[in-house]
Symmetry: C2
Subunit: 385 residues, 2 copies
């Protein structure tokens, strides 16, 4: 298998956006291609994610975007896995380049749900769970993750203040991200005074429904070296799976698929969790970030909450977690999130992250979860000198 | 790249089926795994297609099916490309095995739309087109393909009787397929007396909306040789793309992406179109089969209609086209169709196709189109002795 490199990326503003997903997706693709310094005609295959495209009457987004890009003859495919859709798409593209089949691939994801309103969007999100067993019992994602949080608090002594510290940090980070959904610093009292959504979650424990798009261009080493001075390698691309429903799991304080994918990623890349400078992890709820930092090995099991509240995960801390603001504050347009994490890492590793730049960032990890962890992707990116 | 083999397959009955897509999909996966003679735990990755899963409130079908199969830790992904969804999924799985990353992969597709009723199903199907430009102008797929048919008739002299001959042949073939949606022989007068849907199409020019599922297990040569006496190689797996909308194409009597994918497939496999014994092609409308047989090179351009009416595409003719009954009579559960074509070829090449067996079938081709050809997959299967 060949080495694979990120050579360009782009993301739109995340938030409540008037333009269609299709328009937004087309724009980020043009921008990522320009950032990569290639011609669209050099792309061998395209991989799109648009899991809720049916809500915009789009079931075949690939040919629409490729036609707009002027490359209708290039094969396109939609690759999806709920909230980990575009990282799953990246994995497929990675395999295409690593195998030698393709030299340059475009991977992009987009979601627009704001036109549906919150109730309808909640229902669509719940289709990522086991709907007849979970949602039909009245438990949508805030309730599912609240159960996870209660179990983690009970077993490891994780506190409400630790959950709050994740939200406060990610909102602070997003102040430096001009594309973030929320650019609003919050205090512990803002958090405590916000409504309870599902105990122990307050409003500020929950990521928003966002519209938005992100794109990345990846290439073989030969192509990357010909195009770029600064090289960022995808040192590992791994995916994992877990039992679909919480009620069937032996332990809900950890996500098996994430643990397995991270172990394989570290093993194959010969990188150690202690080497990670910057992490973009799937903080759809505050507890999810705490568990993520444990599952991928940044902190021992049960120590994620303590690490967050003691500032170890802040920019300038031991390992910067979600410098972009994460799903919590940057926003979570379902099928854009996985690639948006890669976009953030690419900016961090090329030193272009502006006010949220992590000093001397050499190695980054992206952790993207589908639903409560039925699917998961882990990517490790490394700056190569 | 390594050689890749089909080692097992299964399909459900196609038609109006009461059970959920999820139940049906789970069953075909169990059956294909049993047919392959492997344990589910030997599967490295799973690839599912369920393009209209949202209509059943399923947006993350992989973990549901893998959990039911007892392999929750195996990575799953949804791969879709409108009506060519599961052949696109097969292509991704093919790359995983060919690259050496995986040894055994499961690929399965399912669709259930009958619960929606015909009008709603038509609307969902239309989401595979460029909805704001095509469907919103009142042109859904029968109208789009009717335009293609008129152009083909005008340029090449293709006649209504030639279209009818495709429908009559495929209905006759489906009489020998116990899993087909329609098992009803039709005559030229049945055809002519059936209602006009969109000129020149009568009812019998159009494939039905079907529910159903299909699954296939593929493996590396080493695994295949250890498991099977009769070997069927995927000699080529290629995909192509075309301009998304008819109004932007230079020529609508051919599908560029299909032509390109077929050329690459023949070139890479060192097989000639004249070597093909059996073809499963995408006959969503009768004209589509005629164009398919030309695009993949079974007949010269403009000769597909003549070949059909003269019996060259019948079982026992020069090259058997759609011995399964095709989308026309076997049925078309969108995301199952691509893998169902592979199931038919696998049965044909292993001599287990019963009353519709093509004599001495050694080499088969599958041609699966998304929408009016925005995406297309071509697979060539070869019996290896």
């Amino acid at each position: 298998m060949r080495s694979v490199f990120v050579i360009g990326s782009s993301m739109s503003r995340f938030g409540k956006i008037a333009e269609s997903g299709r328009e937004s997706l087309t724009k980020v693709c043009f921008d990522a291609i320009r950032d990569a310094g290639v011609e669209a005609s050099e792309i061998d295959s395209t991989f799109y994610s648009n899991a809720f495209g049916l809500t915009e009457r789009q079931a075949h987004v690939g040919p629409l975007i490729n036609s707009a890009l002027g490359i209708p003859g290039v094969p396109s495919v939609s690759v999806e896995s709920a909230c980990s859709s575009s990282s799953a798409a990246l994995h497929e593209a990675f395999v295409h380049v690593a195998s030698g089949l393709d030299d340059i691939c475009l991977v992009a994801g987009s979601e627009k749900l704001s036109h549906l309103g919150t109730l309808s969007a909640t229902t669509y999100f719940a289709m990522g769970s086991d709907f007849p067993f979970e949602a039909m019992s009245g438990v949508t994602f805030p309730g599912l993750y609240a159960n996870i949080a209660v179990a983690h608090m009970k077993r490891y002594g994780t506190t409400q203040e630790m959950l709050a510290s994740v939200a406060i940090k990610n909102h602070a980070n997003a102040m430096h991200n001009p594309l973030a959904h929320f650019r609003k610093r919050i205090s512990i009292s803002d958090y405590m005074e916000s409504p309870v959504i599902a105990y122990p979650f307050h409003l500020y424990d929950c990521c928003p429904f966002s519209d938005g798009s992100a794109a990345v261009v990846i290439a073989s080493e030969e192509k990357a070296r010909a195009l770029k001075q600064e090289l960022v390698e995808i040192a590992a691309s791994e995916r994992g799976g877990s039992v679909a429903t919480l009620q069937d799991r032996a332990d809900i304080t950890s996500i098996d698929g994430a643990v397995a994918a991270a172990r394989r990623a570290f093993s194959r890349s010969h990188i150690d969790p202690g080497d990670i400078d910057v992490a973009e992890v799937h903080d759809c709820f505050t507890i999810a970030e705490i568990i993520a930092t444990e599952d991928i090995g940044l902190f021992p099991k049960g120590e994620g909450g303590r690490a967050a509240i003691e500032g170890e995960t802040a920019i300038g801390g031991r390992v910067a977690v979600n410098p972009s603001g994460g799903l919590k504050a940057k926003g979570h347009p379902v099928s854009a999130t996985g690639v948006a994490q890669i976009h953030e890492l690419y900016e961090q590793l090329t030193g272009t992250a502006g006010g949220r730049q992590v000093g001397n960032a050499e190695i980054g990890i992206a952790h993207n979860v589908g639903a409560t962890g039925g699917s998961c992707s882990v990517h490790i990116l490394r700056r190569v000198r």
